[in-house]
Amino acid sequence: MSQLVFIVLLTITIGIFAYSAFKVYQLFKLTKPAYPVRDFGKRINRTIVNAFFQQRIFRNPVAGFMHAMVFWGFCLILVGSIEMVIDGIAGTERILASLGLVYNIIIGGGDLFAYIIAVFIVVFIIRRTILNVNRLHGKEMQKKNHIDAILALTMILLLMISLAGMNMFYIAGHSDYVGVYPISALIAPLFVNMQADTIKLIHDISWWSHIILIFIFANALPYSKHFHIFMSIPNVFFSRLTPLGKMTNMDSITKEVKLMMNPETAFAATPEGDEPPARFGILDAEDFTWKNYIDSLACTQCGRCTAVCPANITGKELSPRKMIMNIRQRMKMKGPHLVKQGADYNDGFSLIRDLIKEEEVWACTTCNACAKECPLNIDHPTFILDLRRYLVMEESAAPAQLNAIFANIENNGAPWQYSNEDRLNWTE
């Protein structure tokens, strides 16, 4: 009976998840190319260093340490969850115990980490609600964002409590238990004198709560900032490998410039079916690259980017975190309509101006502090520069002082208005 219930619940979980995943896939299909994904060796290396060793998160040592512990704990506990799914389907108990030493390490680690994670999650909740850590706030962090964060943290806390309960009462109920439980084994003796039925009941309630929480959590994630849990490792893997200072080349422009500079050869070399893009740069959801979108799904709104942004520090409107949140927000608003009604769908609203002010776009110094700080290799500057490309190349809407340097560069080959004849005056 319980196997049947389990299989039904699992099927529903997978079904809903597949639906959510399909919706995300449809939105990805709308996105534009960013760069070719090559160099798998380097990508695997970066993923190991940045994701599995959590390198960047340690730039902030205290919060970084706590996050790393939660992450490594999750990895171990995940194996235990897989075992629970197998047990649930097959009606077995702790089926992976036959793995012996490996099992003991994984389950022992999982038990230890369950308590560590629970403590750190409480610290995280305190940091957010009582200590009011600066970087977790900011104008883009509205009430719903805090509720989202607190809900996810609470859910993780409940997951850890149910896991601990499951382990403690498993030990209390079995004199011949399998596996190693460094912390639970210390607490379990407190319960051995309870009635066997009660012990089993509490164990079963913990087991079922844990697995049902996992099912709910997994299906809540695609609609929460905690989608981070699924998208962060892929985001690191697919991140740009070139130096942070490099801007992506617009090949469509290259074609036009070649045409202008050397009309004959460029005409001859124009391959068929190579149409110019509908729009230069990014105005709205239909212009996002796949990297912009995956960045926005991986972002967990930690605010490390905004905390180091020189423009934000000095009180300007720009917040790199807000920019990334705006990508996801706008895709959620417009994306499903673009899927249903095609690329021409217009809701009379646009990312630039309605969600992102021009003032924000122009405040960036392209210093790359945000990109360097992001533990997930989110690329804020590339996105901001694509917004500038739209404003300048589609609307000629640069600030007047920048239009002046464009004119100077065009006329005399320098951003200042000096003659090329004077280029050697410095030797005097």
């Binding site: 070139t242 130096p243 942070l244 200072g245 490099k246 801007m247 080349n249 422009i253 290259t254 410039v257 070649k258 500079m261 230069f280 740069g281 180091v308 020189p310 423009a311 520090i313 000095t314 009180g315 300007k316 409107e317 003032e359 122009w362 405040a363 110094t365 392209t366 210093c367 790359n368 502090a369 990109a371 360097k372 500057p381 520069l385 500038r388 490309r389 404003l391 300048v392 190349m393 640069a398 600030p399 002082q401 920048l402 002046a404 340097i405 464009f406 560069i409 080959g413 320098a414 951003p415 200042w416 000096y418 090329n420 004849e421 004077d422 280029r423 050697l424 005056n425 410095w426 030797t427």
Partner: protein, 266 residues
């Protein structure tokens, strides 16, 4: 050496060498700031003085040099950037240039990382990497007494630091003058921008509570240094402005690393 910096220096011109059938090893890319910014022109001169002193085979493009297009690209004008880049690349190809040495980190980044997308094939060296190599190999000898007793801090330019991961060369070069660096609180990859990158140099800042260059200058002042060393023309403008704003321009010097080296070459 400081006397030499006051008089005219001889700088080889690419077109003239090429006419004689000579091909110098390096193109010294002066950049628009080196050519036109009154303060930074001294840095270009200091670096050329060092190259002359070393007997390096180099030349400058002079009147044939033109903006790399970096500020245009970062201000969103990709078209203008690519026109500049392709024109410059044609000149590099014409002179068969294989190695370029830069002082400006923005030029460095663009030439090194972005020109290859448009067909450029040459090596780009930053002057600090170059100086580090010359000092290490013993070709460049320095009089450590020249700047002795000065406390110095170094401001990492974004386009050398985070953009290209160059943190050690500038520090090595400064330390080879016998100086110890008092680091600012935010340094190396954590360094705060001076506020001038991404074409901000050429426009007023958006409204806010404070200018970025003041925030950074204050941080530099906290180190109680006598010299704030910079390695970028835009950073130099910003920090120098910051010192003026704080009425510190008399007591505290803002020098480019090339200028510090030029005063100490033997």
């Amino acid at each position: 050496m400081s006397e030499a910096l006051k008089s005219k220096i001889e700088v080889p011109i690419m077109a003239e060498l090429f006419a004689k059938g000579e091909k110098p090893e390096y193109l010294f890319w002066v950049g628009c700031a080196g050519a036109f910014d009154t303060r930074y022109m001294k840095v270009a001169k200091a670096f050329a003085t060092i190259l002359n002193h070393l007997g390096t085979s180099y030349a400058v493009l002079g009147k044939e040099e033109s903006c790399t297009g970096d500020p245009a690209r970062r201000a969103g004008n990709e078209m203008l950037f690519q026109m500049q880049a392709m024109t410059n690349i044609e000149i590099f190809k014409m002179y068969e240039i294989k190695k370029i040495i830069t002082i400006c980190p923005h030029c460095y980044n663009t030439l090194k990382n972005e020109y290859p997308d448009l067909g450029a094939e040459f090596e780009v060296v930053n002057y600090l990497e170059f100086l580090q190599g010359m000092i290490k190999s013993g070709k460049l000898k320095l009089d450590k007494s020249k700047l002795k007793g000065n406390k110095v801090t170094y401001h990492d330019p974004c386009y050398l630091g985070r953009a290209n991961d160059i943190y050690d060369s500038p520090r090595f070069v400064i330390e080879s003058l016998g100086l110890k660096i008092s680091e600012m609180q935010r340094n190396k990859s954590f360094a705060l921008c001076c506020g001038a990158g991404g074409a901000q140099m050429f426009k007023d800042a958006e409204k806010g509570d404070k200018e970025i260059f003041i925030e950074r200058t204050e941080e530099a002042l906290e180190t109680k240094s006598d010299i704030i060393a910079t390695a970028c023309p835009f950073c130099m403008t910003m920090i120098t402005d910051g010192l003026k704003y704080k009425n510190k321009e008399e007591e505290i010097k803002n020098l480019d690393i090339a200028e510090m080296i030029a005063t100490a070459i033997i």
